[in-house]
Amino acid sequence: MSTDLSTPLPTRRSTHPRLAPAKTAPSSKPTQRRRGPRPGRIAGYVLIAVVMVLYLFPLLFLLNTALKSNAEFNADPVGVLTSINLGNFAAAWVKGNFGAYILNSVLYTAAAAGLGTLVSLLLGFPVGRGYFRRTKLWNLIFVLMLFLPNALITQFQLVRTLGLYDNRLGYILIMAAGVGVGPILMTGFVKSLPKELDEAAALDGIGYWRYLFTFVLPLARPAVATIFILQAIGVWNDIILATILLPDQSKSPLTLGLFAFQGTYTSQWGLLSAATLIVAAPLVIAYIFLQRYLVGGVIGGAVKG
């Protein structure tokens, strides 16, 4: 990530003359490809460069800190590193138990977002089709669910009452129920599927369940992906509910595991940075491959919503 992006940035920054933006704006007009409204391209690139620095510098600085030896960090905590030292990574991996936390997080995210997406489909399809009476009421309920009060206390009490405290299943069920905009997106998307399809399938003797899972599910893939991704982001980032519902450290998701690690090794910045990178690296790598779908997924949801 850093290698393919850091190269264009310096050239872009070094080629811009300081006063160019204002002057190039009108003069660049005839040379534009198609669109009318364009500020000068150089000014645009400068602004983009500024934004990219704001987003990439913190990550590069993290890498810089992680690769420094303790001696080098103490001598010059801010400067660019002089030699690469992987000791922090080895120490963080041994002390951190991050492999187990990553597995926990993957399990919670896949299970909770998967179940939540299934619920959105089961509720959204018949309501979107109008197969129940009081379609408007159901739609209203789906919207009101977005504005429910903060229920930390009662979720804790519920999970305790059900005997699911400190139990992975209890946490997954609570996180799965946080479907957010899922049912709303699904009802919206279902309307774009032709109703004739239902009728044709029914004429061929296909039952409701088979139709829902072998026809609607594949056809609704864009909506399903969006719903899953939006919920997965929420589960992946949760730290508070995990703190409350899963006191046993061996069940901690990554957020909590890393947070506990930060609390244990305060101010050992090299070690902390290495631990953070160990956590972030698989995410960044997965993200590079999936970003089209991830970002596209949010767009799909936003447009339909």
Partner: protein
């Protein structure tokens, strides 16, 4: 109104609908409605000890002299946090989206980078910014030193909230940018062509074409921003802890009053009182969202 139902039997639909609904009712709606009841009791974190109905005591205590200062501070911080992060976040997101919509080389990569913090998660973001704003040896401290100043950053009560808001904006910008970009791509090109033939400057086009056409995306972003920032506390928890008065938010207060800020001490806390804070927060979020939604709807209608 029921549409004609083409499938042979309704039972399968009813079964799966009910199962799905049951998950939501048990694990989301019951807890949410339960907050309203629990707020009138003295329930604690231990299962099995008797629970008493104590009427409005929790609300009286919320506004009592002993708690009022703490709570007003939390309300004030929550409002500042919500307003500043929503307004500044949306203005920046709009700017970046308009910029990225100009078809520069590598637009997808830029968009992906702005969205990256969403994937990294709050703990990673928290550590990155604690490192940058490390008061004794961080790059921000070095810059401060150039001007002969020093600061405790997240430890400075005058600065902590501002910094947390800035990190929140940094972290949350991606989603808004992506929503705006989708809205921008739906604006027909000829609107720009005809307005530029009429001699509109880029600034006029932004104000008279882009922003009005983006009204639905703006409404979506404002609402998501307000609801999200009024209820979000994960980042604040990670950056400054659950009990820092400078960054005390209502949602964090629910956590620290109900669970003492750590799972171990949770059992003895008065959770009824924490539930009462939830209700106060719910009313504030509801009123603000409704007012803002009403305003934005009316603007959309006028445009």
């Amino acid at each position: 109104m029921t549409e004609s139902f083409p499938f042979p039997r309704r039972a399968p639909m009813r079964i799966t609908f009910t199962l799905g609904l049951a998950v939501l009712v048990i694990f989301a709606i019951v807890p949410a409605v339960g907050v309203l009841f629990i707020a009138f009791t003295d329930i604690r974190g231990i299962v099995g000890i008797p629970v008493h109905w104590i009427g409005l005591d929790n609300f009286v205590s919320f506004f009592s002299a002993a708690h009022l200062g703490y709570n007003l501070n939390a309300i004030k911080n929550t409002l500042i946090y919500a307003i500043v992060s929503t307004v500044v976040g949306i203005v920046l997101a709009l700017g970046i989206a308009v910029l990225l919509n100009q078809k520069f080389r590598g637009t997808n990569a830029y968009r992906a980078i702005v969205f990256l913090p969403t994937v990294l998660g709050v703990t990673v973001i928290g550590l990155i910014w604690s490192l940058i704003f490390n008061p004794s040896a961080g790059p921000a401290a070095s810059i401060w030193k150039l001007f002969g100043a020093d600061s405790a950053f997240f430890g400075d009560p005058h600065m902590a909230l501002g910094l947390v808001i800035a990190v929140q904006i940094w972290a949350g910008l991606g989603t808004s940018v992506v929503i705006f970009l989708a809205g921008l791509q739906a604006i027909p090109e000829d609107l720009y062509e005809s307005s530029s033939m009429d001699g509109a400057t880029p600034w006029q086009q932004l104000r008279m074409v882009t922003i009005p056409m983006l009204a639905p995306s703006i409404t979506a972003n404002v609402l998501l921003g307000i609801v999200g920032s009024l209820q979000s506390y994960q980042l604040t928890y990670v950056l400054t802890g659950a009990n820092n008065p400078a960054t005390q938010l209502l949602s964090l207060a629910i956590f620290s009053q109900g669970f003492g800020g750590s799972s171990a001490s949770g059992v003895s806390q008065s959770q009824g009182y924490a539930a009462a804070i939830s209700i106060v927060q719910f009313v504030i979020v509801g009123v603000i969202s409704l007012v803002v939604l009403q305003y934005l709807r009316r603007r959309e209608a006028r445009l």
